[in-house]
């Protein structure tokens, strides 16, 4: 499909929400985009809301200003993510709205890519039951939800072998976020097609990543109708993750009850057995009443003195990797359906496609123009002009 800005069909191929998506990916406010294309903020707002339609020249300028092809702005046939869906972000206070908008936009791009791939490939059927909990602190509902999910998924007692694969087997789309958005912790949201979990690539810690994945699973299972971001909601997801990974009935008897040197050896061994961090196990031991608050706090100080708050000792250094999209792309290439076709069908920038379908977090900082403002949000779209000018047509 060869189309250029000169193509007469372009004026009719513009959807305001696609401009919003591109602007969020670029990490820009409306006023900042307006300045970049030398138009008013009101004009940008009107284009995004659909109140006004940009001219062909406007579209070309927006495409150049944002680092996307004009075709990026073409409307999608269907809305994959319902209006009003807000992802579950942690630490809302420490993450700017701009960074969250950018992270969510990246998640939407991942949904677009999965949707394009799913036209050619049968992906696992979505099987994430809703086990809603009440927004109250006093019940054991998060723990019950975790036990219920283990039962519904038919998981035997014992450790979870591979969290990311377990999620994928039940239809959850798991991707790594872009390195440039790594200030945003892992997050999740539900799309009409399939639920999405976006993992933070900067953590590089097998044990913490597993807890993150279980935490996001907790949101998907318990909080489909809950207002994201509150302390209570986050605590519930942590409690879900703790029970899902280390069921009380199985670990209560083996967690240490006092913190001698032997206790640290036990924690180190439990860490490898259950695949969760020592910090998570200490938190678990306190939650289950095996150790007191004072013992917990002292243990945290000891752990910090050993430098383990940053980097705990652990045998596993590789992190869990997603396989659903990477395997699908491999399969399609074997069937002579090249990546370029998928990029074209998903209508996303090529380098974002590669990041989304990668098995490992991609380090591609040299691809990006680092023009961060004080917010620390860097565009995911703009490419270094020295290497490559933004393309105005699909090849």
């Amino acid at each position: 499909m060869n189309q250029t800005v000169d193509d007469p069909t372009y004026p009719s191929l513009f959807a305001g929400e696609r401009l919003t998506l591109a602007r969020h990916l670029a990490g820009l406010r409306k006023s900042e985009l307006a300045a970049r294309v030398r138009k008013s903020g009101t004009a940008v707002a009107a284009w995004e809301s659909g109140a006004k339609r940009p001219t062909v020249t406007n579209i070309a300028e927006l495409a150049l200003g944002l680092g996307v092809t004009p075709q990026f702005f073409a409307p999608r046939g269907t809305t994959l993510v319902p209006d009003g869906i807000v992802p579950h972000f942690r630490s809302l206070r420490s993450t700017s709205q701009k960074a969250r908008d950018q992270a969510f936009a990246y998640g939407l791009v991942a949904v677009d890519i999965a949707s394009a791939i799913e036209k050619h490939v049968e992906l696992p059927i979505v099987d994430v039951p809703a086990v809603p909990v009440t927004p109250e602190d006093d019940a054991n509902e998060p723990e019950e939800a975790a036990r219920e999910l283990r039962r519904l998924w038919g998981h035997p007692a014992g450790p979870m072998k591979h969290l990311v694969r377990l999620l994928e087997q039940h239809g959850v789309l798991v991707v790594f976020s872009h390195q440039q958005t790594s200030s945003v912790d892992a997050y999740s949201f539900d799309s009409l097609g399939r639920p999405v979990v976006v993992l933070n690539p900067a953590k590089d810690d097998y044990y913490r990543q597993r807890f993150d994945a279980a935490h996001e699973l907790g949101h998907l299972v318990m909080h489909q109708d809950a207002e994201p971001g509150s302390r209570l909601i986050e605590d519930q997801a942590n409690r879900f993750a703790a029970e899902f990974l280390t069921p009380a009935a199985e670990v209560r008897g083996v967690l240490p009850t006092a913190m001698g040197a032997r206790a640290w050896d036990v924690l180190g061994a439990l860490k490898e057995q259950w695949g969760v961090s020592i910090q998570a196990l200490l938190y678990r031991a306190r939650f289950l009443g095996c150790i007191s608050d004072v013992t917990y706090r002292n243990a945290m100080v000891t752990l910090s003195q050993r430098g383990w708050r940053r980097l705990e000792p652990g045998l596993v250094t590789a992190i869990e990797q997603p396989s659903m999209l990477p395997r699908s792309v491999e399969l399609l290439e074997e069937a002579h359906i090249p990546r370029a076709t998928l990029v074209d069908q998903a209508r996303v920038p090529h380098h974002l496609f590669e990041t989304v379908v990668s098995r490992t977090p991609r380090v591609a900082e040299d691809e990006l123009v680092v023009e961060s403002d004080h917010s620390g949000v860097v565009s995911l779209l703009a490419r270094t002009t020295a290497k490559e000018t933004p393309r105005t047509s699909f090849e």
């Binding site: 630490s91 420490s94 050619h120 490939v121 049968e122 696992p124 014992g158 450790p159 979870m160 072998k161 591979h162 694969r165 953590k203 597993r210 935490h215 302390r231 605590d235 083996v254 240490p256 040197a261 032997r262 050896d265 036990v266 061994a269 439990l270 057995q273 259950w274 695949g275 910090q279 998570a280 938190y283 306190r286 608050d293 917990y296 706090r297 945290m300 100080v301 910090s304 003195q305 050993r306 430098g307 708050r309 940053r310 980097l311 000792p313 652990g314 596993v316 250094t317 992190i319 396989s323 659903m324 990477p326 395997r327 699908s328 399969l331 399609l332 074997e334 069937a335 002579h336 359906i337």
Partner: protein
């Protein structure tokens, strides 16, 4: 000991001090007389060793999920202990000593502390030669026969019919 992939430990000297780095952390060497590991006066050592002992907080640690029950004072204490250097990478010191007569060796790794105050020369340190012997206790170490692993087969996906036909052609 955990296995380390080849090529992941790289030479990383700091000024004139021998050093290596691994996963974003550097280790530099320092020799002492036998028995002096706990009596180093970093204030009298080279500029490099002083800088390492005075490593300042350069960025806060990624907040963990487990900080929320700590008091502000405890959090501040933890943050201070998370201190990172302005010597490029978080840098630890590998201290070695050899008694030529007896052949006794010492090999200690730690986070050095600038002890101008005549205090301890270490925030923490650990001997690499004296293996920690487990204390005897009734509580057994859990067995690890069912340990989780980051290795797993790919999730099953298959081509839809038209694409499969295309492959068959």
């Amino acid at each position: 000991m955990p296995r380390v992939k080849p090529g992941t430990v790289i030479r990383s000297n700091l000024n004139g001090s021998n050093g290596w780095s691994y996963r974003g952390m550097r280790f530099i060497t320092h020799s002492v007389q036998p028995g002096d590991v706990n009596h180093i006066d970093w204030a009298q050592e080279s500029k490099t060793k002083k800088a390492v002992a005075r490593q300042q907080l350069s960025s806060p640690a990624i907040p963990t999920l487990f900080d929320n029950i700590l008091t502000p004072a405890q959090l501040a204490e933890l943050a201070a202990q998370d201190a990172l250097p302005k010597v490029g990478l978080p840098t630890f010191v590998l201290v070695h000593a050899l008694d030529r007569d007896s052949g006794d060796r010492e090999l200690v790794i730690g986070h050095s502390r600038y002890n101008e105050d005549d205090g301890a020369p270490w925030n923490w340190h650990d001997s690499l030669l004296t293996a920690h012997k487990p204390e005897t206790t009734e509580q057994p170490l859990p067995n690890r026969t069912v340990a989780p692993s980051p290795v797993a087969p790919d999730v099953p996906v298959r081509l839809r019919q038209p694409a499969a036909d295309r492959k068959a052609q």
